[in-house]
Symmetry: C2
Subunit: 331 residues, 2 copies
């Protein structure tokens, strides 16, 4: 197999808690190859007999790194490497800096943390963001997606609300390129815990196909006067609608998803609208999950929406340029 490294200019890693994605980019930022590995920082691989890295480098991060891009680097040893995500956390490969919010993201590339690997290629880790206050907030990885979104529209939009749905959804207010505030919603992780570890999961049909009607019904409840009873109360209707024959087991998981996303979006929009007019909303994340959020946002009257695909690799490319790891271009 011929490696596509001839035109390569950068290796970019999106390294989170449960997965590792590696991108090989050319000198214009175009993606030449992508790899997805299950080696998140909480589930690193063990050394294999045929691992071609030096015996000293006997830790899981090195092994995962080698599987992600070792062949690219053996072919082109001078390719720079940039990484973002939980790889820079206290439980990661090397703890990277946090930048305090509010922060102008144009300067984020100045605070890279470098893992020096004697005789081998260094790895540059993007800083995360921290927001101090009564209830602090942190992100690692999403700042790169934000940078990717902003790189394409620096002059175009002064004010944005960026939504990053996922295990821990982030909602980020950006003004003139500056991140001024963000909130975290544990929606994805709470959904999985409720489905897998409470009575609500007992009557759900496992691996049922998506049920758009069940999802829409959950959204509607969260946004209705019944929603005022609060999430902890609404949750129980997943069970009682099933008990009374009004919600099939095959629809209950999506109904629960609708309740949770509906409560998240209702809270986010209420907070944002209390602070002033709602700006344009940009969603970035897994395609089908983003479509659920589009539906929730529209139900609540938020119609000025767009999706931002590929923001992670855009962001890593942009930050590598800003850090001087690859030559800057005039786009």
């Amino acid at each position: 197999m011929t490696l596509p490294t001839a035109n390569a200019a950068l290796i970019a890693l999106d390294w989170g808690t449960t997965s590792l994605r590696a991108y090989l980019l050319d000198g214009t930022g175009r993606t030449l190859q992508t790899r997805a590995l299950p080696w998140g920082i909480m589930r690193l691989p063990e050394r294999r007999a045929d691992t071609p890295i030096p015996p000293a480098a006997d830790d899981g991060f090195e092994i995962a790194f080698d599987e992600a891009c070792g062949d690219w680097l053996r072919d082109q040893p001078h390719l720079p490497v940039i990484a973002s995500g939980m790889v820079g956390s206290a439980q990661g490969w090397r703890e990277a800096a946090y930048l305090d919010v509010p922060v102008d993201l144009s300067g984020i590339a100045r605070l890279m943390t470098t893992i020096e690997r004697p005789g081998r290629t260094s790895v540059h880790i993007v800083p995360g963001l921290i927001q101090h206050g009564d209830l602090p907030n942190v992100m690692r990885g999403e700042e790169t997606q934000i940078a990717g979104i902003l790189a394409l529209r620096r002059s175009e939009t002064a004010d944005l609300l960026i939504g990053l749905p996922g295990t821990h959804s982030k909602w980020v207010r950006v003004r003139h390129g500056e991140v001024i505030h963000f909130d975290t919603y544990m929606t994805g992780e709470v959904y999985a815990a409720l489905r897998d570890h409470t009575i609500l999961g007992r009557t759900m049909v496992p691996n049922a196909p998506a049920d758009p009607y069940g999802f829409a019904r959950g959204l509607a409840v969260a946004g209705s006067p019944d929603g005022r009873a609060g999430l902890l109360s609404n949750l129980f209707s997943t069970r009682t609608l099933g008990l009374t024959g009004q919600l099939d087991g095959s629809a209950q998981a999506d109904y629960l998803s609708g309740l949770l996303i509906g409560h998240e979006v209702a809270s986010v929009l209420a907070l944002q609208r209390a602070a002033g007019p709602l700006p344009r909303i940009v969603l970035c994340g897994q395609e089908d999950l983003c479509q659920r959020y589009v539906q929730a946002l529209r139900l609540h009257g938020a119609d000025d929406l767009e999706l931002a695909p590929h923001a992670t690799e855009r962001g890593l490319w942009h930050l590598a340029q800003a850090a001087g790891l690859v030559p800057a271009q005039s786009v």
Copy 2:
């Protein structure tokens, strides 16, 4: 050992999902003996070689029943038996009726479901309550506690809000002895799922002693302007306060408990107050859990409060009287 059955008049069973409590009551309703067994309907015992019940009665309900009160019945075979709780659910010993809310609880004893056990003592199961509507609600077991609370104060208070904290907390509005509405909050079960199956549990010190300061802090956040971000957002502060050194691992479980109970109580009181003046609140449940709810209610300005201990055995006694299983008394 001498059995205390000489003065016994009733065997009363509180039989839930995870536990079975048996009460032996005398002719005035006084408790002669109490037994607590781990044989909830979802974890019934298996047959033991020395089980003294007939071979035909080879199911878990019979075995658990025998362990709970078989010796009492062998001594006094004509003692009546009343039971309430999930033992009357579709997964229970025998599915019992549901009464539709609104309902006058004085008539509840007319709908007992009887398990006939040829040659042996019958078991009478109390009906549960169901509330129809867009979001239905159900209870099994709490109706007995409510009956116990009301039996002692029928003429005294026209309007009550009864709180029954637990795995699935119930909040029940009673007017002139009639249950007119109730809501369920999955607070206890959600707490356990979040603690045991999300990232929030990772930094908690296991089996830490209760931390009243951590609990009060969670309550305060839920009731503050920060609470408007919603529960799904507030939850994450359990982690970020830990990350930033502001909340010890030994306080994080109680902080999470405070957040959840705080959101539950805030929603309950907002709904109740939207409907009119807040009536007296009666709390019934595990003592230390009730104290947490007292603290939450007081923080939100609900000061007309009392605790109702022993409501389950009071209720079972009262319903047995109303059903004619034991002679009615003039109290």
